[in-house]
Symmetry: C2
Subunit: 223 residues, 2 copies
Amino acid sequence: MDREFRILKIKESVFEDNNKDADKLREELKGQGKFLLNLMSSPGAGKTTTLTRTINALKDEINIAIMEADIDSDVDARTISETGVPVIQLHTGGMCHLDADMTRQGIHGLDATDSELIILENVGNLVCPAEFDTGATKNAMILSIPEGDDKPLKYPLMFEICHALIINKIDTLPLFDFDMEAFIERAKKINPDIAIFPISAKTGEGVDAWVDWLRTEVKSYQG
Amino acid sequence: MDREFRILKIKESVFEDNNKDADKLREELKGQGKFLLNLMSSPGAGKTTTLTRTINALKDEINIAIMEADIDSDVDARTISETGVPVIQLHTGGMCHLDADMTRQGIHGLDATDSELIILENVGNLVCPAEFDTGATKNAMILSIPEGDDKPLKYPLMFEICHALIINKIDTLPLFDFDMEAFIERAKKINPDIAIFPISAKTGEGVDAWVDWLRTEVKSYQG
């Protein structure tokens, strides 16, 4: 049976200094042993499908909880609820990103007492979410093949602030004019340390390497 | 030979009431007989390829000029310059959208004295550009098949404010789980009057109907 979930309307933050508040949230989470992953992408790059694969691969060894942020609708939380892990749908009321206080509101609304890994699926947007530190332990982004290989040139900040870059929909490579080598070179030029995972969330190809990276990050965080 | 173009750094607007300023810009453009189309979409939905097809179909009958807005890079202006029409690359310096004053700065920077149709390719983003009236005569958006059929549920404002909806990359329909009927129903529920054009900017399929719509709009605007 699908897990029940609630919808939470996020209030606009009252804090003036988001960076300071994000550092504070990171400390709070560290004290509770909770790893927070901030997952970002364009609309339709495959965040929810990738997330479903990730949850199913890890849920037996790590306690996971999910926050789905969207301007409207509950379609993503409904999909994630099928995995059986705790999930909450956050409605941003038109806001194009989450900041640290909005993320904190989400965590408080979530049934996450035992969670070791909380994943925030941010609003589908390559621009604004890159500008607001959510207090996450690590940032990850998804870029899908149909979006094109020029995106690091156009949205450099997103590539700069992410620790992991998932390249999704590689099963569609034959259909699109996507130069993988040029794309990776552009991403690495902005962020030489970024970990890169070409996957197909649809077929499952490459997902293991991404899951291994995330597992290692969570375990080393827990010490 | 490709047409030369300049890169203009857009300054943040000083106007407090963007809606009022947008109405003013619309009036100014009406006085000059210039139709302004604001073209929006997610990153990688195919704005530039669709634009290239549109320009090549119309440039012999209508004087066209193009404004390419991006946070960084000049890749799109370079592509458009191959069509030979006047083009300017606008750099928003991190800003996620254009408002009316930023659009006006772009028009002033553009060699558009004789232009009857100015097309603004807005920043790739389904959220913020929907919230800021650019002063455009008409708004159009592109949603591409790989993005999924649930987007009207998640980004309703974008679908609400657009006069035309281009559904791009229909050549990839067999590869993706995209329910066209459900998608159109969702879009029409938000905006019953929206004109819908399924196309493949890659193969050219369906582009004629979109171009016909735009031609008719421009001609009827000119009276």
